[in-house]
């Protein structure tokens, strides 16, 4: 039975040896050599330092292609033409499933044909030297972004390869991404990832860790996201991580988004140990985008505006081609520049919006309620508590494909577009808070002249891609 305890160093070495024997490139990882390599990197490539010392939100896109030369060209372009402050390397789906042989086939095909036969950069197959070639070619810090339930080998290779930031976590890269990985299993695997990051940290190489805040990316109520961020932050801190970036995905209501980002920073500082530097990242809208680049730029701009008011440490940008999938590099850079323009215009203004403090207070109360129930369920142990809480449904994520979460809680927007909970299922919450949600949703139902029902949920899921925020009923059509 696993608990929230630091993996002992002999155990760390044993697991490390074992996972590095899973694929030939694992043999090239040498910890002492890796420490020396990180120490040789210039200050502007040290991810945690660059992020933590910034005086305004830093921008980072998403990007990953199979071949090293192409990845270098793509990242150089986004750095130069998109003025990205931080760069990503998004990993392909085969690697996320630990299918390194299939990734190898895809990589070889990409090399032969020049086509992007993988949907990302297969870092395990490129190995330590391949990763270092990328790190050396780009004059900015680079983060590994993926979606891997078992990311142990990926972490071992990319850390040794010079990457200093690593996205994901045992809940946030499990519950939204896969059906059949048990939570206990992913927690155990991510304890190793965090412990390895902690081992580098102990030697002065602070690897930044970033739990994936948007979760299912679909109308996730802020308190659920924040509670999961705190849990993953705590798990990472226990293993020795000292630079943690907590994430949150835009819901599109400016008051709620600003309140949520404020609450995320405040509760992160409060719940995580003092020796951890807590930063925040804001993801521009992760749900469906309008199939129209001009409208998509509107969605992106609202994200920029929200970021200018809330001032998170980092913003992950979207491109106007989000609707059609992977964007061209030009569209990707334009998403960065659109965001930059809005932030730079708005950030020096003193914008006061009524209601942020009140909404923040509600989000904090909800989050504390969820954290209390997690600790209760684990008799004080956050690992046990998280497993038990998901199992019983007192902690839940809407639209979760995983068998490890009930996925029974359903959100809907209220009358001014804030995400509330329409179906609580077994989610733990104080009655007076439930009553606030009920009253807010009831006001919307009155406005729309219909009952509260799943129809609102369905309408809300499509609303932004249809050009609105709230899924109001359409006038009846004759041919229905």
């Amino acid at each position: 039975m696993i608990r929230d305890e630091r993996i002992p160093s002999d155990e760390l070495r044993r697991i490390d040896d074992e996972i590095r024997s899973n694929w030939p490139t694992g043999a090239d990882v040498d910890f002492e050599n890796a420490i020396e390599y990180h120490e040789s990197l210039p200050a502007h490539k040290r991810f945690a330092d660059v992020l933590e010392s910034a005086d305004k939100p830093l921008l980072q896109p998403r990007a990953g292609v199979p071949r090293i030369d192409d990845q270098i060209e793509l990242l150089e372009y986004l750095h130069r033409e998109g003025q990205a402050d931080l760069l990503p390397t998004t990993i392909d789906s085969y690697t996320r499933d630990n299918e390194y042989e299939k990734a190898q086939e895809g990589l070889e095909k990409a090399r032969e044909t020049g086509e992007n036969t993988l949907n990302g950069f297969p870092a395990v197959n490129h190995g330590v030297d391949g990763c270092r070639e990328l790190i050396e070619s780009i004059e900015a810090p680079i983060e590994v972004r993926h979606g891997t339930p078992d990311a142990r080998l990926l972490a071992a290779i990319t850390f040794a390869g010079g990457f200093q930031s690593f996205e994901g976590g045992p809940i946030s890269y499990n519950i939204p991404y896969t059906k059949r990985h048990g939570l206990e299993e992913t927690i155990e695997k991510w304890q190793f990832v965090d412990r390895l990051a902690g081992a580098y940290t102990e030697r002065g190489v602070r690897i930044n860790r970033e739990p994936f805040g948007p979760l299912t990316g679909t109308l996730v109520p802020p308190s659920i996201a924040i509670a999961i961020m705190i849990v993953e932050g705590q798990l990472a801190a226990t293993q020795g991580v000292r630079s943690i970036t907590l994430g949150y995905g835009q819901v599109g209501n400016v008051v709620q988004d600003v309140a949520a980002l404020n609450a995320l920073q405040k509760l992160g500082d409060e719940y995580l140990p003092d020796e951890v530097v807590v930063t925040t990242v804001f993801h521009e809208w992760m749900g469906g985008f309008p199939p129209d680049e001009a409208r998509a730029n509107g969605v992106i701009s609202l994200g920029g505006m929200t970021a200018a008011i809330a001032q998170p440490d980092k913003v992950i940008t979207k491109s106007p081609q989000e609707f059609q999938g992977v964007p061209t590099k030009e569209a990707n850079a334009s998403g960065l520049r659109t965001t930059r323009q809005v932030i730079d215009m708005a950030i020096e203004q003193n914008i006061d919006i009524d209601g942020i403090a009140e909404e923040q207070d509600l989000i904090e109360r909800e989050t504390r309620c969820l954290m209390d129930t997690i600790y209760d369920h684990g008799d004080g142990d956050v690992v046990r508590g998280t497993i038990e809480a998901f199992d019983s449904g007192v902690l839940d994520v809407p639209f979760a494909p995983s068998d490890s979460a009930k996925g029974a809680v359903l959100p809907a927007r209220d009358d001014d577009g804030r995400v509330r909970i329409f179906e609580w299922a077994d989610l733990e919450m104080d009655d007076d808070i439930k009553e606030i949600h009920r009253a807010r949703l009831s006001r919307r139902a009155d406005t729309e002249g219909r009952d509260q029902s799943f129809r609102m949920v369905a309408d809300d899921v499509d609303a932004i891609s249809d050009g609105k925020l709230i899924g109001r009923p359409q006038p009846p059509q004759g041919d229905a």
Binding site: K179, R180, T218, G325, F399, P401, S453, F454, A458
Partner: protein, 151 residues
């Protein structure tokens, strides 16, 4: 015509390696609200799992969802698997069935050839699928249900 008063069972799932869960969650809610017994197999469901569930629950309809563009590949031989398990159910498929094609009529024909009774695009309202299923199963909605549908 026989008027069915007992509730009818539909099996619902996302086929293949696809993990898109939002559509299926909404369909589950919609079919339940319309009075069907819904067995939601969730995402990443294999052909065999659809067949097993259809047999186990004596389903009258098997509704397949796919959003990630590999539906044609994932559905090869699906109806043979259902036949071998003696599943006698109406079969529908819906979603983003072919990312490469803009002509939905061609996509519809492709999936009808694979054996599906009806093929829906990703813009379909749940109500349209419910109305189609009522027609195919010869179910007459009660007056109250009719009011719900048209609202």
């Amino acid at each position: 015509m026989v008027l069915h008063t007992m509730s009818r069972t539909v099996v619902l799932g996302v086929i293949g390696s696809d993990a898109h869960v939002v559509g299926i969650t909404i369909l589950e809610q919609a079919f339940s609200a319309a009075g069907f017994d819904v067995v939601n197999l969730g995402v990443q469901t294999s052909q065999a799992e659809f067949a097993e569930a259809a047999v186990a629950h004596d389903a009258e309809a098997v509704l397949v969802s796919s959003l990630y563009g590999h539906a044609e590949q994932d559905c090869q031989g699906f109806h043979e698997v259902l036949d071998e398990a003696d599943v006698d159910a109406v079969t529908y498929i819906g979603g983003n069935l072919d990312v490469g094609q803009s002509d939905f009529e061609q996509t519809r024909r492709t999936f009808q050839k694979l054996g599906f009774d009806r093929v829906f695009d990703s813009e379909t309202d749940p109500e349209d699928a419910i109305a189609a299923l009522r027609q195919d199963l010869e179910i007459t909605p009660t007056e109250s249900e009719r009011a719900t549908i048209s609202s």
